[in-house]
């Protein structure tokens, strides 16, 4: 029931929610002034989105190079890996858990693809299957430790963060493995303009959105994250669903790893280090709550784009390397602040 209060369960908080909404509509100073009402409503209902819009506007003003089709596509490509990881993490966070292992699992899955295809000279399609299976297996192991071993998700996935990274190094003997050329296309562009990573990101996002909104497992994720006891009493097989949740997260991590390696045409054992924090940040910036029960694929996409725009912009603006980290920190805080302050009563 702690979850209930945290996720604004009590009537009192429910109130603030309602009021905040009204206020949002009333307050003239609110973001999105003088916009067509529809767009305005959308922005007001989604803090992350308005933060993204603000950032894009600012960047366009600051750098002449920002608002070009090419650069925006670059931003898309640069968001892809984080976004795909984050979609997987969204399942986990919605269900009230956390997954720190996605970065390592991505690297391990990519290494497995390269290793099976190159060292073991298996057909590429089989290598891809094995790579995805690797991701799912890691995820399922997380799920087993959490659902049946009763480990806190933080610990189980932290252990996997370490173990999967180790296995990636062991398998590759610590050296980058050449990625099968057949896969290189995944890093290229379609029709000379549409980057495949962006395409993959959108497809995975669509899948995530569908799963969360319309499938039994998706709804179970919200139920488990919102009130696990209630979910159990409603006949939801919570432990089984947790396997699904972490398995999915692993699968998405594998896809992210493949996209990453395809871009570099090389599978790196130390790739995607620390990406788990970016992925979780994207999900939370997108409006999900780490106490579970809330979150959307669309929000996660926006969160990932915010991070990508930020990094891209800082490059274009040639902000000194040391200061960049300061600015990144400040902007992340501001972006979310923009949202919460708007909600404030």
């Amino acid at each position: 029931m702690a979850t209930e209060t945290q996720s604004s369960g009590g009537p009192g908080q429910g109130h603030q929610g309602r009021q905040g909404h009204r206020l949002g509509k009333q307050r003239p100073g609110g973001p999105g002034q003088g916009l067509p009402p529809v767009l305005r409503r959308v922005l007001l209902d989604n803090g992350a989105l308005s933060a993204l819009v603000v950032m894009i506007v600012v960047m366009t003003l600051l750098s002449g190079d920002f608002l070009s089709t090419q650069n925006l596509l670059n931003v898309g490509v640069q968001a892809a890996v984080t976004a795909i990881l984050a979609f997987g993490v969204t399942y986990v966070i919605v269900s009230g858990g956390i997954d720190l292992s996605v970065g390592s699992v991505a690297a391990f899955s990519a290494i497995m693809l390269a290793w099976t295809a190159t060292d073991q000279s298996m057909p590429v399609w089989l290598a891809v299957v094995i790579s995805l299976a690797t991701g799912v297996a890691c995820g399922l192991l997380n799920g087993v430790l959490i659902a049946y071993g009763k480990l806190p998700p933080f610990i189980a996935t932290l252990a996997m963060l370490s173990a999967a990274r180790g296995l990636a190094l062991v398998t590759s003997q610590g050296t980058p493995l050449a990625f099968p050329d057949a896969m290189a296309s995944v890093g290229e562009t379609l029709g000379g303009w549409l980057p495949v990573p962006v395409l993959v990101m959108l497809v995975m996002g669509g899948i995530a959105a569908l799963v969360l909104a319309r499938t039994y497992s998706g709804r179970a994720m919200y139920a488990i994250g919102g009130n696990e006891e209630a979910a159990r009493l409603s006949g939801i097989r919570v432990r089984r669903q947790k396997l699904v949740i972490y398995g999915l997260s692993g699968a998405f991590a594998a896809v992210a790893g493949i996209v990453l390696a395809s871009r570099l045409v090389s599978a790196q054992p130390q790739a995607a280090m620390g990406y788990e924090l970016d992925a979780i940040a994207a999900v939370v910036i997108g409006g999900a709550s780490l106490s579970g029960g809330v979150g959307k694929a669309s929000g996660t996409l926006i969160g990932a784009l915010i991070l990508a725009v930020l990094r891209n912009g800082l490059n274009l603006l040639d902000v000194s390397a040391f200061w960049q980290q300061v600015v990144i920190g400040a902007v992340i805080a501001l972006a979310v602040l923009l949202d919460t302050l708007r909600r404030r009563t």
Binding site: S7, H15, A220
Partner: protein, 550 residues
């Protein structure tokens, strides 16, 4: 004491649905159930009665597969069954409404009702159909909230109705209800009774738990009384109230509402007879408007009204839990800052909130921890907390309120519902507030413990403290208050002197200003002493302070 005159339903029309034999269940330090035999027939309402902590919820948790008994067995239509988890219960046609809400706050009403059983098309959830079905059900139980509303936006009362709708949607042969009426008001209760009577006619067996004894005669067929985990007798539902009480608590209760008026002028108030609390022109858009009243030292002021009339909201505003748009709150003539709980507490105000789980308790902390929370700052010397002093105080009040627990270190989550409520009240009684606001204080508390709490209220007022009591239990308000304020649609509709007021007077004020345009939440009448079958708005005429419930 065994079966009473009217023979309980039996024979072909009433085949046995469910039976337990020698059920025993222990928890660390507690024997919750000790060899309980219980049976339920088709087409009857079997009431479970017992003090807080007697074992009622534990028994139904065993019937619904939440707990496994340490000994004894459960039989469904004569055949021993193993009820292990919700799936088994559903398969065996057993639906349960638990005492603690089991809803997912962020999901919609519709989805909560069909959670885990959502209708699907091509493997995908069919929202349209789900909401349509839900709307149908909600109409049946008579809650007019859109099925798309997130549950978190609903009040306690509506949440309870959603739980009921959810249970009905299972179309079970056995329906178990653990204190479904604790949070309901009269016509919701009435509608619930109509539904239950309908089910009974269709041969459904209903297990019904309540602490409102008047409901037993109104709905029940048989009553099984539990005491300290043992079944101490099975009687007919029309057994006189006093006999039921004696069975339940082992003694009879003379005075249900032992109000003794306190010394109105006292040392506790600075200025002679200056009002302890003066609220004037208190308003918040959409919730309450121009609310003004006074509470004097030694007084118990009742606050009655319909659900959503804004009593809770006013109370929270006075206490600083929420802000307000305009108006003033003064304690002993000193104006309080807006929305500042600690300032209100410093001035001597306390609030026992209506939602014990959400706003009252640290569920995973010990009874002592919870009881010491309000006095924590006071018990701090040079940054250090006087732990042993806190422990002594906590033990004292826990004994006084008869909190049934294995030890003062037991986690509150594992207390029975009523005992949890006692802990919320207890921590504020320790707070020794000059003015204590009680919002639905006796929700889920047994008859015996209620009297104990009323005695404590008397002690407070006798020593010059004052109490503002919000209650949807009219006999309680009329029985325990000196004055009764009636709220309607966020305004004070009038004031009554308790010992001259009848429930009718209160009702007239409460609904009098009701307009067709009133929001859904404002159409429900308060609980009446006798929510016997019949028109909820024609309560027993002669309710007097000090009279027994019946």
């Amino acid at each position: 004491m065994t079966s009473h005159d009217r023979p309980p339903p039996g024979g072909d029309r009433h085949p046995e649905l469910l039976r337990t034999e020698g059920i025993r269940k222990t928890f660390p330090g507690v024997v919750a159930l000790d060899g309980v035999d219980f049976d339920l027939r088709a087409g009857e309402v079997h009431v479970l009665l017992g003090e807080n902590g007697a074992g009622k919820s534990t028994l139904i948790k065993i019937l619904s597969g939440m707990y496994q008994p340490d000994a004894g067995r459960v039989l469904r239509e004569g055949a021993p069954v193993r009820v292990h988890g919700a799936e088994d219960a559903e398969r065996l046609g057993i639906a349960t409404i638990h005492q603690e809400f089991n809803l997912v706050p962020h999901l919609t009403v519709a989805e909560n009702i069909y959670l885990g059983r959502q209708p699907r098309r091509f493997g995908l959830i069919d929202r349209k159909r789900m909401e349509a079905d839900a709307a149908e059900l909600l109409r049946r139980v008579g809650v007019n909230v859109p099925p798309g509303t997130p549950v978190r936006e609903l009040g306690i009362a509506r949440r309870q109705m959603v739980e009921i709708a959810k249970a009905l949607s299972l179309r079970a042969r056995v329906l178990i209800m653990d204190e479904p009426t604790a949070a309901l008001t009269a016509d919701e209760v009435e509608r619930l009774f109509e539904i239950v009577r309908g089910l009974r006619a269709d041969g459904v067996g209903v297990v019904f738990i309540t602490h409102h004894l008047e409901e037993i005669a109104a709905l029940g067929d048989r009553v099984t009384v539990l005491r300290d985990g043992r079944s101490v007798g099975q009687v007919a539902a029309d057994t006189p109230r006093d006999d039921l009480v004696r069975l339940m608590v082992g003694r009879s209760i003379e005075q249900q509402y032992p109000r003794v008026t306190g010394t109105v002028t006292s040392a506790a108030t600075g200025a002679q007879g200056a009002p302890l609390l003066r609220v004037s022109g208190l308003s918040r858009a959409g919730t309450f408007d121009g609310v003004g009243f006074e509470v004097r030292a030694g007084e118990v002021v009742g606050l009655a009204g319909l659900v959503g009339s804004g009593r809770t909201e006013v109370a929270r505003a006075v206490f600083g839990a929420d802000g307000y748009d305009s108006g003033t709150v003064e304690v002993l003539g000193r104006k309080l800052p807006r929305g500042d709980v600690s300032a209100a507490m410093a001035a001597g105000i306390g609030l026992v909130p209506e939602d014990r789980k959400g706003q009252g308790l640290l569920l995973d902390a010990s009874v002592q921890e919870n009881l010491g929370l309000v006095t924590l700052r006071g018990a701090t010397r040079g940054g250090l907390v006087d732990v042993s002093g806190q422990r002594r105080a906590a033990t004292g009040i826990a004994e006084r309120l008869g909190v049934r627990m294995a030890s003062i270190d037991q986690h509150v989550r594992t207390l029975s519902g009523g005992n949890q409520q006692k802990v919320v009240i207890g921590k504020w009684l320790l707070g020794r507030s000059k003015l204590l606001i009680l919002d639905e204080p006796t929700r889920g508390i047994d008859v015996g413990a209620k009297v104990e709490i009323y005695e404590l209220v008397n002690e407070l007022t006798a020593s010059g403290h004052a109490v503002l009591m919000i209650s949807s239990d009219l006999p309680e308000v009329l029985g325990m208050s000196d004055r009764v304020l009636v709220m309607s649609q966020g305004r004070i509709a009038g004031e009554l002197t308790a010992d001259r007021a009848t429930q009718d007077d209160v009702m007239r004020l409460a609904v009098g200003t009701a307009t067709p345009g009133a929001p859904p939440g404002q159409r429900h009448g308060p609980r009446r002493g006798a929510s016997a079958p019949g028109n909820p708005h024609a309560p027993g005429k002669t309710e007097r302070k000090g009279s027994r419930g019946h």
